[in-house]
């Protein structure tokens, strides 16, 4: 059982780390602000979820798990809200959502 838990949480954490690195690369490879926003979204949703879930598996039925649950819950509400607000303001301030990869950088 313990072996299984350790393996599962290791898997989750490495998954999360992989997604985090993916996002980090994404914010450099993507051509414009809106595309980068999607890359950041990968780290916000996938990476945070997998990592926190892996930690939850490790802590079991304790207060720490409950706090991790709260952190995850607030994350899943606040990070899309921030991204949405960002996109909305960017569009209304004239950022170009559709420029092709070659136009800049």
């Amino acid at each position: 059982m313990e072996t299984f838990l350790v393996l599962a949480s290791t898997l989750c954490i490495s998954m999360g780390v992989f997604l985090g690195i993916t996002g980090a690369i994404g914010i450099f490879r993507m051509p414009n602000f809106f595309a980068r926003l999607h890359a950041a979204s990968v780290t916000d949703s996938g990476c945070a979820f997998m990592l926190l879930f892996g930690l939850m598996l490790q802590s079991g039925f304790t207060l720490a798990t409950i706090k991790l649950c709260f952190i995850l819950l607030f994350f899943l509400i606040s990070s899309p809200t921030a991204a949405h607000a960002l996109a909305k303001t960017a569009l209304s301030c004239g950022a170009q959502p559709t420029s092709s990869p070659r136009e800049e950088r």
Binding site: V42, G46, T98, P101
Partner: protein
């Protein structure tokens, strides 16, 4: 009135789970804190039906599971594009009709769209959601309207 009761329940739960102390003094502090929070929330007029959906049914759990699957799939999709040798993206702004009417349902829809990598909700109004899609498949997934239909069936 129901909203206030609902908020009280949520706040009590939040306090108990955070503190997990059952000494009478700490519990007393909790009661005072919750009362103060409720008073201020009431003064700020942030307690109402749109932020506290009373008609939320347990079926939302199934929606969350479905959403988790969608998020995982689109994570994979975007990750593949990021790691790919050349970036084949087709970013554009699309507009989709929204079937739901309640503000909470619209909020849930907008945040679900944004949470799914590959699509970001830019604006949401009564009948229309404006979103930015990164790839063709992400745009197609949004345009199929499956997500909105699921939220509408929750009664939101």
């Amino acid at each position: 009135m129901l909203s206030i009761l609902f908020l009280t329940l949520i706040l009590s739960l939040f306090w108990l789970l955070l503190s997990w102390q059952f000494a009478p003094f700490v519990l007393g502090c909790g009661v005072v804190s919750i009362a103060l929070t409720l008073y201020l929330a009431q003064r700020m007029r942030v307690v109402d039906a749109e932020s506290l959906p009373l008609n939320l049914s347990a079926r939302i759990v199934w929606y969350w599971l479905w959403l988790a699957k969608e998020v995982a799939l689109s994570n994979w999709d975007v990750a593949r594009h990021i790691w790919g040798k050349r970036i084949h993206i087709n970013p554009r702004v699309i507009q989709v009709k929204t079937p739901m009417k309640t503000p909470f349902g619209l909020m849930l829809y907008a945040n679900s769209i944004t949470l799914t990598p590959g699509t970001v909700c830019i604006d949401i109004e009564d009948g229309q959601v404006t979103a930015h899609a990164l790839t063709d498949s992400a745009a197609a997934g949004l345009e199929s309207g499956e997500m909105g239909e699921k939220i509408r069936r929750l009664g939101l």
